[in-house]
């Protein structure tokens, strides 16, 4: 039934998904084949196991779920303004690709890999260096708030425009987690767009993967069926934000 819904969504209401796969086919697969990768289609569930409904997402709150690997964090945001459309992004190595839009009726809901494209800072159960900074909170990384900030080396990314880099030593955008909304308002993650840093992540954080996931091999397993999605304040003990 989920599967049917998914197909219907893609077929009938392409505007409701973050990236229209046909765009990807035309723009990207022709060039490199590397900028979009479909993963297991999983449903976002809250901490109690109930489906996350797109209408219930609080504005500007950082939600975190691990996807597509069981150890790779992603952030889910319901922004307080509509996202841009058809944003052209360029990777550090020069590949161009299109981030189509946020989802939901006002195109405010987005999801990005929460592993910094610069040097991989990310939320862990212990602490978090990378998150969206609400508009009423200050940041040292950029001239305004309402952006995603990595507080390790102070890079910032535009949540409204496909996590395009705004400032700091990062060059690549954050990778996007492609999400869809089902007919019953549920949220689903289906793939990753852009240059993700998963390979480097697994190489770099072996002790951390051991501590939280039982090892690199276990941390690399793909998320299946559902992904637990919780506010960042529940996901991590300490939020480090400049």
């Amino acid at each position: 039934m989920d599967r049917r819904n998914f197909l219907k969504v893609v077929g009938a209401t392409g505007a409701f998904i973050a990236v229209n796969p046909s765009t990807i086919q035309n723009e990207l697969f022709a060039n490199t084949g590397a900028m979009f990768r479909a993963y297991e289609r999983v449903q976002l569930l809250d901490g109690a196991g109930a489906p996350i409904k797109i209408s219930q997402l609080k504005k500007e709150m950082n939600y975190v779920f691990n996807y597509p690997h069981v150890s790779t964090p992603a952030i889910l945001l319901n922004l307080d303004e509509s996202t841009a459309k058809d944003v052209k992004l360029t990777s550090e190595t020069g590949e161009e690709y299109v981030w189509e839009s946020g989802i939901g009726k006002d195109r405010t809901v987005v999801a990005y890999s929460a592993i910094c494209s610069h040097q991989l800072a990310h939320p862990t159960p212990d602490d978090s260096f990378l998150q969206y900074v609400q508009k009423d909170k200050p940041t040292m990384a950029f001239e305004r708030s309402g952006v995603i900030v990595c507080s390790s080396h102070l890079s910032s990314f535009d949540a409204r425009e496909g996590a395009k880099r705004l400032s700091g030593p990062a060059i690549d955008p954050l990778a996007s987690v492609v999400i869809e909304v089902g007919e019953d308002d549920t949220l689903w993650a289906v793939g990753v767009l852009g240059s993700d840093r998963f390979h480097d992540y697994f190489k770099t954080f072996k002790p951390e993967l051991k501590k939280f996931y039982g090892g690199k091999r276990k941390g690399k397993k793909l998320v299946k069926i559902s992904a637990k999605t919780v506010p960042l304040t529940e996901y991590t003990k300490e939020i480090i934000q400049y």
């Binding site: 550090e92 190595t93 910094c116 610069h118 040097q119 991989l120 800072a121 602490d127 260096f129 040292m140 990384a141 950029f142 001239e143 507080s151 390790s152 080396h153 102070l154 910032s156 400032s167 700091g168 030593p169 480097d200 190489k203 770099t204 300490e238 939020i239 480090i240 400049y242």
Partner: protein, 476 residues
């Protein structure tokens, strides 16, 4: 400066003589073989005269943060670019965060700071020459090193700092300077200096540790105060009776309010700051440091300025970390570039650029640049990336305008200092970079945390993550 220039010329002459001898004895083939082993690119030596072991489109002097960043980023832009890096050491040791080794923080061993060059060379594929630069001939476009001479089209200088004991202590003999370097090293140039300082602290009896802050530009402005913090935490943990004395030629030091707040809370009166004091002599045998301190008399002259007095004082130390005047590495003198007239001798830059003012084919990054940006690790990384953009655009026939020329770069520099242990706490400063029409300038901001304090446990975690990331940027 004059003396360095003469030395450079002398070396140049010696180099030329060696080359001539090699030619006469018909060693040209041998020179070619040397190139294949020394620069790992045999093809580059084919067709060269006997006087060069290689010629490369871009030659980078210095495998530190600036030079490695230029090399890595040029290769990211064009994997076929012909690049040679010249570095005198066979391993890299990090200056950023190295004070935590002095403080014996958890997990911080020598191994935390030492990196090999094999991974980046393998990953990016540039050529490598281990050797010490002896002379630079800009008209012939040749760099002579202890491992041979190489030609270049574009030269990037990232040689870092040297120490200027001679200027600060004009009466000291070369033997005395060598002695002081052995027993009281500055430990701003990582390597044996850090090992010596750590050993001296490990072996110390009860007594004071004196750290001196020089005048003028020096590498990593918060380093002496961070080091004072780390020595204090080490002494506390080891229950060593004594104080940490920080003697500065100036009135203050980088991030001072944040350090003072941290010291008062964490170390009571263990760290003592003595300002306006010029170190004039050291007796390493009796372990006595002499300094001239200038203080106010409380009396005013007829123009209402306070009348100052200077007194000579001494301090007995158990361990001395004498940080002398810094200067640009001697490599800058060898290149004969126009430099600023201060004691450091910064390379004058060609406008909003990392190209030098003197020679359009010579670029400079890292501690030696003549912009008003701090000599920090992250700034060297930023400058290296900008410089790579400039060179890459130029080699493609275009040009690159630094974004900082149009709009300020927010938090172009971020610099952390560890101030406490158990739990680890750190403070930070960020610098926004902007172009003022003649130089790229940095404006600092030292933030407080949500609890109103400068020092934060989260900042200490950020320091560790920042360090991991910066090293990964260069070496993984």
């Amino acid at each position: 400066m004059e003396m360095n220039r003469r030395d450079a010329l002398k070396f140049g002459a010696v180099g030329a003589a060696t080359v001539a001898a090699a030619t006469m004895t018909g060693c040209s083939t041998k020179a070619g073989e040397m190139a294949s082993s020394a620069t790992s690119s045999a093809a580059s030596a084919v067709g060269l005269g006997a006087d060069l072991i290689g010629k490369h489109k871009v030659v980078i002097i210095g495998g530190g943060i600036g030079g490695m960043t230029v090399a890595n980023n040029l290769k990211k832009k064009d994997k076929d670019m012909d690049i040679l890096v010249i570095e005198k050491n066979d391993t890299f040791m990090s200056c950023p965060v190295s004070n935590t080794y002095i403080g014996k923080l958890e997990g911080m061993t020598l191994g935390s700071f030492i990196f090999d060059y094999a991974q980046p060379i393998q990953k990016h594929g540039y050529n490598w020459l281990q050797g010490e630069v002896m002379a630079i001939d800009r008209s012939a476009k040749v760099v002579t090193t202890s491992s041979g001479a190489v030609g270049y089209d574009i030269l990037v200088l990232s040689p870092g700092i040297g120490y200027n004991y001679e200027a600060q202590f004009p009466t000291w003999s070369p033997e005395k300077i060598a002695h002081i370097k052995r027993v009281a090293p500055a430990a701003l140039i990582p390597g044996s200096e850090h090992v010596i300082l750590e050993r001296n602290l490990n072996n110390m009896e009860d007594g004071d540790v004196v750290i001196t802050i020089p005048s003028g530009k020096f590498r990593c402005p918060p380093a002496p105060a961070e080091r004072a913090s780390m020595v204090a935490t080490f002494m506390q943990k080891e229950e060593i009776e004594g104080k940490v004395i920080l003697i500065a030629e100036g009135a203050g030091f980088a991030k001072k309010p944040a350090f003072i707040e941290s010291w008062e809370a964490l170390y009571g009166d263990k760290i003592v700051f003595i300002p306006n004091s010029k170190v004039t002599d050291v007796d390493p045998d009796t372990k006595v440091l002499t300094y001239a301190q200038t203080t106010g008399t409380g009396k005013k002259d007829e123009d209402d300025f306070e009348i100052m007095k200077t007194e000579t004082k001494t301090h007995k130390y158990e361990v001395l970390n004498l940080i002398p005047l810094n200067k640009a590495s001697d490599v800058i003198g060898m290149a004969g570039l126009e430099v600023t007239k201060d004691t450091f001798g910064k390379v004058k830059m060609n406008g909003c650029s990392f190209q030098t003012k003197t020679d359009e084919d010579v670029y400079a990054v890292g501690d030696v640049v003549g912009h008003g940006i701090p000599p920090s690790g992250q700034t060297a990384n930023w400058a290296g990336k900008q410089c790579a953009e400039e060179i890459s655009a130029r080699l493609k026939g275009g040009s690159y305008e630094l974004p900082v020329k149009k709009a300020p770069v927010k938090a172009g520099n971020v610099c952390y200092s560890m101030v406490g242990d158990m739990p680890e706490t750190a403070i930070m400063v960020t610098h926004d970079f902007s172009w003022n029409g003649s130089a790229i300038m940095g404006k600092g901001n030292v933030p407080k945390g949500p609890n109103g304090l400068y020092r934060q446990t989260g900042t200490a975690k950020a320091l560790r993550d920042w360090y991991r990331g910066l090293m990964a940027d260069m070496f993984s």
